[in-house]
């Protein structure tokens, strides 16, 4: 079965640089979520989208922005990167109604040096 696809899997950036993470949800899933997981921590919700509209917002820094496109894929844009942004970034997808099961992608490991 198709899973959530994230790219790139690994990314190394320097401080103050920008990064773009991409997420391709499971086919027929209309809702996308972004989570950040720091070392030894549980995943923290950043932001979610349904039908290209922001549906919920968590602890996402103002330096970050995200959007969902007409094909339901989503991109997380991160600017003015800081050392503390180094983390695993997960995308998850679900259907807005129905089973509510939420599936996670393999993650993008971002390292800021």
């Amino acid at each position: 079965a198709a899973g959530v696809i994230q790219s790139p899997r690994h990314l190394i950036k320097e401080k103050r640089e920008t990064a773009t993470l991409k997420c391709y949800p499971i086919p027929r899933h209309d809702t996308v979520y972004w989570y950040q997981q720091g070392p030894g921590q549980d995943p923290q919700f950043l932001i979610s989208f349904y039908e290209k509209m922001q549906s919920d917002k968590g602890s996402i820094p103002d330096r970050f922005s995200a959007q969902q496109f007409s094909d339901y894929h989503s991109e997380l844009n991160m600017s003015s990167l800081e050392l503390g942004d180094s983390a695993l970034y997960f995308c998850a997808s679900s259907r807005r109604t129905g089973t509510y099961e939420q599936y996670f992608g393999p993650g993008t490991r971002l390292t800021v040096t």
């Binding site: 549980d42 919700f45 509510y100 939420q102 996670f104």
Partner: protein, 115 residues
């Protein structure tokens, strides 16, 4: 404060033994998810429970939801090395809102299975 607390924080069991992981919420549960994570990898969906008293099983893993106690338990029967990893419970609000929602995760339980 943490909304979801898991116990134990870590667990070492011998292969073949049974084990239980608990997830307790400080708030009413409207959807409880269980995931397994290998270090540095993605979260693998195990099960989702919505109704009080609901119980689901997948292979040797069974999860139950006690709505009154605001608690869920994950039970693994005859553990195997492949069960090793970090187990995370997550709370959503789907049963309340009727739509999928963000998840808030517990503190995680690290499971090691020895031979």
């Amino acid at each position: 404060s943490q909304e979801l607390e898991q116990s134990p924080q870590s667990l070492i069991v011998q292969e073949g033994k049974n084990l239980t992981i608990n997830c307790t919420s400080s708030k009413t549960l409207y959807g409880l998810y269980w995931y397994k994570q290998k270090y540095g990898e993605g979260l693998i969906f195990l099960m989702m429970l919505q109704k009080g008293g609901e119980e689901k099983s997948h292979e040797k893993i069974t999860a139950k939801l006690d709505e009154k106690k605001q608690q869920s338990s994950l039970h693994i029967t005859a553990s195997q090395p492949s069960h090793a990893g970090i187990y995370l419970c997550g709370a959503g609000r789907a049963a309340l809102t009727g739509t999928a929602s963000k998840l808030t995760f517990g503190t995680g339980t690290r499971l090691q299975v020895t031979l």
